[in-house]
Symmetry: C2
Subunit: 257 residues, 2 copies
């Protein structure tokens, strides 16, 4: 049986509403012995908060069932034997990252997340000088989101600031978030599976389905969350379109026959 990567927001729940049948579907994956990970680009809350949210829906899962850009960065740094990164990330996200370098010392890497209103010239220039140092540390980006829609209007997300630092320093960031291939491949290693044996199920035709396909996985689209009929008219063709995650176990079983 295949392994599955499951997008959270828009697939398991939409905002604060659980998708009907989602809890039973996840339980069924367990019964079928299908390894799975909840995969999200969220960098504003740590895994502990995600687990708490699922618990509120009656779904109790351990921290090992989650995959986030912060966890991917932590794994990437461990693989490279890098310690003491500079963490330009939201405060709660530090919980899922290695201990930050001491103030005034040279960081082993520069990790960028969505600092929001805390982005300013001094912070960006500090990161820039680290990147321009003789022994330049790697630049890690917890996603390349361009912007998000806040109640008062659009707001710049981390992607813009990553691009600013890439341009000024002439460096290229390692991007650890959907749809970057590195994000998927580290997730597969964590799950002990291969791209060809793994399915990504999501509501974002580009970030979830297209990203997974470029990384060699198969991509399923659900009609919940941000799904729109026009998604099916574009370049990316999902493996299948399910009404919701509730239909996933049956689809997997029919595939296995």
């Amino acid at each position: 049986m295949r392994a599955v990567l499951i997008d959270l927001d828009g697939v398991l729940y939409v905002g604060d509403q659980l998708v009907p049948g989602a809890v039973a579907a996840v339980a069924r994956l367990g019964e079928l012995g299908v390894p799975y990970l909840f995969v999200t680009n969220t960098t504003s809350r740590p895994v502990s908060a995600l687990a708490q949210k699922l618990a509120g829906f009656g779904l109790t899962v351990t921290a090992e069932k989650f995959w986030t850009p912060a966890l991917a960065a932590t794994q990437w740094l461990a693989d490279q034997r890098i310690t003491g990164p500079a963490l330009l990330v939201p405060e709660p996200t530090r919980e899922d990252l290695p201990p930050a370098v001491a103030t005034g010392e040279s960081p082993g890497a520069v990790v960028l997340g969505d600092l929001g209103e805390r982005w300013d010239y001094a912070t960006l220039n500090r990161a820039f000088r680290w990147l321009m140092a003789d022994r330049s540390p790697p630049l890690l980006a917890l996603g390349m989101t361009r912007y998000w829609r806040a109640p008062d209007g659009l707001r710049l997300d981390a992607g813009a600031f990553v691009r600013a630092l890439e341009y000024a320093s002439g460096r290229t960031a390692v991007v650890l978030g959907k749809p970057a291939a590195a994000f998927f491949s580290i997730a597969l290693a964590r799950l002990g599976t291969t791209a060809g044996n793994t399915i990504m199920i999501g509501d974002d035709i580009v970030g979830d389905v297209g990203g997974a396909q470029r990384a060699g996985l198969r991509g399923l689209l659900v009609r919940t969350g941000k799904f729109r009929a026009a998604d099916l008219a574009g370049d990316v063709q999902p493996e299948a379109v399910l009404d919701s995650i509730a239909a996933l176990p049956e689809w997997l079983e029919s595939e296995a026959r």
Copy 2:
């Protein structure tokens, strides 16, 4: 006789030191009837301050002899009949730009210069929202410099912030500074000459000579300012290398024979 574009810093003067023979060379251009413009990427001081600096060297020239990114932007906006731009530029630079849009109104264009420490999230997000509006105004960049060397270390320049806004908005900036072709072509129109008849003299093999050549001009390199012998080993081959601007009139006369 050809027309000439003359870089300022590194060619006419180096920092606060006049290049020996520079004043006589410029006077000789006047006698020969060669049209010329002083071309600089400076956005931190207006033309009035540049004229004052030259006057301090004993070289009295009118404002019409200068060409800067701010003047190019002013010309570009006039050509497009655009008024009321948002000006994210150093305070003194406003002198060479059209009047800014009133606070709270939609700008006719967004003009970005080197705000330095005044770059912050609120400012960038305000510019971002303008660019994402239904009737999105053009984005003008007064150069794409990546960084500069301040006494206390490297500092991010405007290019990084232009890239951030380009990425987030999906828009491409009109760049008005060397080595952008648009910057040279508007300068030629101002001078009433053509690319094939015009020579750029500068100390920057990439920004001055390479940029001019890509815009169809010929490029002369001087051995003053930032010149290094290694400059001649790269991809860009200047038309000629002069010891300094002092040798320019003689070179022009020998060319004309």
